[in-house]
Symmetry: D4
Subunit: 248 residues, 8 copies
């Protein structure tokens, strides 16, 4: 029951075909989604530049291909994260324009090239092992219509390499920092810039890294006040949050 | 905007004083709580036998007394959990009929004596240290209109004491089991009865009991299939869930 | 030694063939299970609508098939959880009527179609990844003689989808909620219904989900008082507890 | 050695009083902070609307008062978090205009009333126990020059209360959500708004809440993609990050 | 209903006053504890040399005194662990012969001096901080009728001190080893003796000792095969287990 | 340098060929193992009934076969734990009499059939999944010269099955209890017997069983005082400790 | 039995008063500590510049004073860590020259001023909260005869402050880095110097700092290869290890 | 821009071709790495005896071979850790002189045989399972120009085996100790030597060893003051730190 239905009901009331009491009763049982927040959801279908996203891990190539193809029909950009080459092969058969970003383990379909972000998003990785997560953030931010610049292998044990990039850092409107092991990079970066820093702990490391727990705890306890954190290896989430910020 | 308001609006529509379009717009912005689930909430105020509950810990005696007195005016039963004698003294000045259950650390006000539960709820404690939590469950179930029987100090290391009470166990419609340390009692009880068992881990114990974690994990892994679990020391929750079941 | 044996002994006493002293001694050593609780156990074999259950994981197809076939001879319903297609193939050779529920990873044999549950059990899943666990609960509740309705993919980040189902929720006599990641759904559902909610944390998620620990802790700390919790991924346990409640 | 000093050195070079080689050597040893990033730091002193902040916990009233008074001389706003009334008494003797926000346990000195934030920041708390953390966020965002609106006690077990505030939510440019126990609120809010959500787990709860760990894990695993997280009870950090975003 | 009652019942059967069927029914409902294992429990009251034990922590002086006095009337030895001097003062008023062992924080009443243990029990502590736990083991083993020898401050970082005591070690029939911090001593001792070693982790240490967790994990992973472990700080349990072994 | 060497040195002293001072110096540097505890180690080679043991996991079949054959030459019993059938095939080629106990995953070589244990060791398992660990304990205790009786599938949720075996329990001199999931069985058994109970947590279970952690914590917190614990899945350790006790 | 005793025995052998066989036997039983490693321990008493150390926490002022006074008689330096002012007052009465270092919470007695360290030890703290731990390291290294330089409040969020001290860093022979919260400083410092870095996690922080666990894990996972770690808050250990290195 | 560039700039200033103001501006923007710490980094390329290191795990054979070959061109020693035989095969095709150390799972290229370490480094392993980690430390220390001695299988449960090696221990300038399970060896060794001990927890063990966590916690809590710790299984880090110390 949407606005048209409600209007119809009210016309019936006006015309005396439906009594006010009966109309109250009908309204009382109308589906929630036709009111209020439903608008938000309706707008969702229309929402500019928000990609359709599907999590690839654990889905069969066939399942993923079907979902991807269905989402592609909405006309917007589509992103499949944690996707394998095998899954991509299946997707490509159904959606020829889809591309595979192997570093990011992502399948992307670009149907909308509008630039939605107002400034530049910088994506940093501490080590080379963190690059897959960083690339997932890069791909996400890119498909959401942002200019993205990446700075890789700028970990804190070689602080001069990071400092050499200070110009790029200072120019960014939002900064994403991916780091495993001790996860120290967001704190250093947070102290160098005046914009929001999204920290992404990665599961890179071994032993007491505990699959990213060490990095996660480190980032949550950052002594830099402009740092907030997303889940371990959640490059997508970081790219998404950064995109939201960059549209403001 | 409630049913009356809506009816008024519809009457205005019928009378032609408000156009259907304008009415649609007004309805679109009417507060959520006036529709659908609001009924649930409305019923809440009228709901039979559900006590008003307040968590006492961390509140000043004065704060608690004020909240308690306000809730008492609704006319139903009132329960303050984790309440101290000092808090009770303050409450009693405002609500003379309130009583203090020291074992349960609870303040109760009984204004509705209806029996809502269909059968009997049995509350067991493994050791004497678990009694405060068990009593919280007893007090909660009692104030929600249930017949309650307690069986204390029937821990698994003296299995014959438990077995001696099998008649009481078999007669219960719901069983609550409170245990700290290794938290083994719910599994044994679960195997002896054919009704739902609500397990409450308590923080009784030291060292590797880790403030109830050992008991909690034990209960979650119970080999008896009729056991479900609430939070550590959450006697109130157990009493509440058991009451809900006993009303069915 | 059962009731018949005891009666025989007592007849021998009456006839003077056995002295009271000797009879005392014999009774003293009679097997525990012949008395008291043994009745419970005896009734177990006769118990109406309780399925025979076997945990499939870690068993060879042949082992599982043998156990399943043996249980099938009891004449009641049989359920094998966490079972693979390969295991099912072996079972089917021995028990032709057995069926495989692939979503639930369960093998079922239906020999008793009685409706034991008094009302309807609603089973919710927050995301699509939680469906296998939810289906295990559905299959369990169904084979235990309940009417079951499932509502899938109604996670809290799209609250309108959940609210759209409020009618189904309100009609349920018991609600099972399966959710991974942050495990927030049981709290929201608990606030919408007035019946017991069984929460099942799932191992869906990655990183700081810690194989279901995040969801488990969330559910144990639910701010809704009518929620109790079973083990991570324990759809069977939830279905079993809900069935017990629904028979009351 | 600042720009003036360098110019002096270069003038000396031009005048032939210092050889290029000697100048190279001197430059090589000049303090790092005189170059490049030092500008950032210099700007720090001048930075518009960034408050001076001091963490009160663990400092004696006298220590805090001295630090606060020193920071007050910079002419900007000053904020002391986790401060007691006793500490405030000491501060007030030295800085008469300082004010105490008891709910937030914060001491504030407002010397700059400029509005720096472009939109409104909404601060939500799930329960009443979360209010101190939420208030810390409110006070931080306010002193950093933002319009702030708070919505308290809108936890997920009473979803209609939250939904009733959807207008305020939709109007906010950044949303801060404070929740303890299961920490589910940010996911629900994240699904309702299209702006960045900063989630703050609080240590409210007991037992398996593990001093905020349950809420923290829940928020990190949020199924809403626009959520990022700060440390347990870190209302200040949330207010700070939100302010940074709101200035963009 | 005990043996006498059963005999009476059987005599009535013999005399024809009670029919066999009725007797079967009565027997079916006789209390569990009158049969079988009840003997164990009955023997418990008579059991030689087993002390009555009460856990002092968390009990008021008055409560403890009452329990202690009641247990003292059984005529055997009585032990109150984790007892304060204040609690002892209350006990002493009721039981004049009770003694306080301050190092062990234990109250003991010795009414039975029989030597029940066949050999000697050696109790070791790694550091001086572990002595309270070691003394609790000593007091427990002593009151259970064992010859006990203690060897304190023989931690692994001064291995020669331990080796100097090898004669005492080799002569012991059971060895108890109490250690905090890294908990390494049981492994070394286990390699030096050919008898069972009971390891007691203590909560001595700070930081990553995590209140005894480090020592506990170390002891559970001992590379010496003759080591078993009790709970953190559980000197009583170690003394009890060692006593049981020493009676064999 | 052994006793012969020392005697030679002393003869040289007596004959005046070596001065006392020089002899002191030589003695000072003689290898530790020739003195004191070395006797223990020497006795080790001679020690009656102690098997040679090797941990099979992680070793190649060839490596294990070589070690096993070497140990076999000592003439005593040999035990390889955590061994696969493939490893056994390699061992058997070198040591024809070796046998494989598949349930226990152990290879045994029996060259000494002496009965060293004084009484009987009972080995219990809670569920069928715990049997491999229980069998490892059985095999270990058997090869160390003990009479062993096993009681399997006597978990606490079917307490009558356990109680039916009370005679076997009461007759045992030492009891080993293997249990996964909630690990409750040792507490119940501990309350039924008057001898030492060695508890072995197993990694049986899923979800919040955390690979045996739940069972481990439960057992460490046992409310039965005669229980001590070994590492998760350490059936060997339990059999070894029980054997040591049974020889006393 | 020391060297003199052995010589006496050997003289008796030479003189024929003791047979070689008897001497062998006597030697076999002589205390371990008279041989071999005993020298190490003997040297301990003589060891140059190694302070006598006592852990103050948990000791009564009187106990600490007695221990301190006894150690002072050895003539070397004495250090009491984790000592309160009250404890110091008691110590000072017995050892007038003792001094209290309040920042480090240490009591020191300097009786040996020799410089044992070859180079300089630098001690860094990330924040002001870490200073007590850093000072404990400073006091320890100083009393062990090292030149010590401290650099405080040089945390990674203000990297320029750290870099401004690069000269002091480069000149140090060993570097100690104390940091709480995310514990990132050792990695940055490790990348800047070519000498061993001893990292000390501190318990500074709140929430997900988990009393120093976050910093500890961070440091163990440092991406700088020259970093090793001591226990949380263990400034003494760091100072001790650094001193040992600086003597090489 | 290096020293030559700066000199050129200054010459231009002297010659009046560049104004001092313009020179200041240019200097202000010169890359960080050309100044100050850049020297360190520059020296890095020249640094004597520091090997080029690459972490092999997770890299394809081809990737590793390419990186290895590139590093080999620097003329110094090259070390690839955690490398498989398959990776080595690929490396060897490009760098014929590379060798594989299978026990250490390391590929080494020795192009510089200088002895940089002043003394001997001793590497101990507690069990045979710890040898791979110990060998990684040995290989690392060796390629960094140190004399290395290894002592394997000297765990604490056979203390005499360790003591038999006391000469080798006492002669070492730095000691590395690798141990899994309870991780007790570093404490015993720390008490026997007067030099720094680097402890390496290994992931050897099962159950409550928790992949090296038990050993890690044990080592962090060592009662020997000369022990510092590196990450679980980090033989490389231990060898690196020891080498740094041994060069002092």
């Amino acid at each position: 029951m949407n606005a048209q239905s409600i209007r119809k009901l009210l016309l019936a009331v006006r015309r005396g075909k439906v009594s006010p009491d009966e109309a109250v009763e009908r309204l009382r049982h109308l589906p929630f989604e036709d009111l209020g927040f439903a608008k938000v959801d309706h707008h969702r279908a229309l929402r500019a530049g928000m990609p359709e996203v599907v999590f690839g891990e654990g889905k069969s190539p066939r399942q993923l291909a079907e979902i991807f193809a269905r989402l592609a029909r909405h006309g917007g950009n589509v992103l499949a994260t944690r996707a394998s080459e095998e899954q991509f092969a299946a997707v490509q058969k159904k959606v020829a324009q889809a591309e595979y970003r192997s570093l990011a383990r992502a399948i992307v379909l670009r149907q909308d090239d509008t630039r939605y972000g107002k400034g530049k998003i910088a994506v940093l990785s501490a080590g080379t092992g963190d690059i897959p997560v960083a690339e997932e953030a890069v791909v996400t931010a890119a498909i959401m219509g942002n200019e993205v610049e990446h700075l890789y292998d700028v970990g804190v044990a070689g602080i001069h390499r990071l400092l050499a990039h200070r110009k790029a850092l200072v120019e960014a409107r939002v900064v994403i920092v991916c780091a495993g092991m001790e996860g120290a990079l967001p704190s250093v970066v947070g102290g160098l810039v005046r914009v929001p820093v999204i920290a992404v702990p990665t599961s890179v490391g071994y032993g007491a890294a505990f699959q990213g727990l060490a990095a996660l705890l480190g980032m949550l306890n950052s002594c830099a006040s402009n740092v907030s954190v997303v889940n371990i290896d959640n490059g997508f989430g970081a790219g998404y949050v950064a995109s939201m910020i960059n549209r403001l």
